[in-house]
């Protein structure tokens, strides 16, 4: 599984980041290095979930506006700064769906589809591929979110938990349940 370097930082880098956050709390202009560091990761997270590139840029921008405005209240409680940003991104994303400014989208590539069909213990075929895509549409949002982060974005359970507000263990259990549900829908559709 690929390692997300922005998430898995060493203690020295995390400490340095916390120092940068403290400086930015006193002077918002000093937030620029953090903005530059995380802009792409936040944009890609949003882009995969909305249908229009322009909307993804707008939502990304509002994530950083919210983050900078809330920065004075940010306290390090064991959750990395990146996860705090992803939580804001998740909340801004759902707000844009409620406001109908963007459409909920799942972006997948062919390789991921083949790997995921294998995860479902099925052999790949065009029919299976169509079945999978249709089954994903029938999942509940919280289930789809977990499947997306774990299997399509290869995030660790710890990171998933921090983004959705669950413990690592709970994230693992709920992702497993989401996968079982997806298999159930998949098999029902197949029959």
């Amino acid at each position: 599984m690929a390692v997300n370097l922005l998430y898995h930082q060493n203690a020295f880098r995390l400490e340095d980041e916390l120092r940068q956050i403290e400086i930015a709390k006193k002077d918002p202009r000093q937030f620029a290095p953090l903005y530059k560091k995380y802009h792409e990761a936040i944009f890609r997270y949003i882009y995969k979930r909305v249908d229009e590139e322009e909307a993804a840029y707008d939502i990304t921008s509002s994530v950083f506006v919210k983050a900078l405005a809330s920065l004075p209240r940010y306290e390090f409680r064991g959750v990395p700064f990146s996860s705090w940003l992803f939580r804001i991104a998740k909340s801004e994303l759902y707000q844009s769906f409620r406001d109908k400014k963007a459409q909920r989208t799942v972006s997948l590539d062919s390789v991921t589809i083949v790997q995921f069909i294998d995860e479902l213990n099925e052999d790949f075929s065009e029919e299976q591929r169509t079945l999978l895509l249709n089954s994903l549409k029938l999942l509940k949002e919280h289930q789809l979110q977990l499947i997306e982060m774990r299997f399509f974005e290869k995030r660790s359970f710890k990171e998933i938990g921090e983004i959705v507000g669950l413990t690592e263990n709970n994230a693992k259990v709920k992702t497993f349940r989401a996968l079982v549900k997806l298999k159930e829908i998949f098999n029902k559709t197949k029959a």
Binding site: F31, E53, V65, T105, V106, S107, K137
Partner: protein, 59 residues
């Protein structure tokens, strides 16, 4: 309804970088801070002016 996009074009890091605009973020934050301050400020100033006017009439 959920839309599923397969093998969608991915913007390059350079394209994403071109869309970075930290000044815009700063301006939006300071504009929202000003918005929060204005009603409070004019509320206090307005109330003081109103009380002063009443006081002037009464005296």
């Amino acid at each position: 309804m959920i839309k599923i996009l397969v093998d969608r074009a991915k913007p390059t890091s350079e394209d994403i970088k071109k869309n970075q605009n930290f000044d815009l973020i700063l301006n939006k934050v300071s504009a929202s801070e000003t918005k929060k301050i204005i009603p409070w400020y004019f509320g206090v100033v307005g109330l003081a002016s109103f009380l002063l006017a009443i006081l002037t009439i009464l005296l």
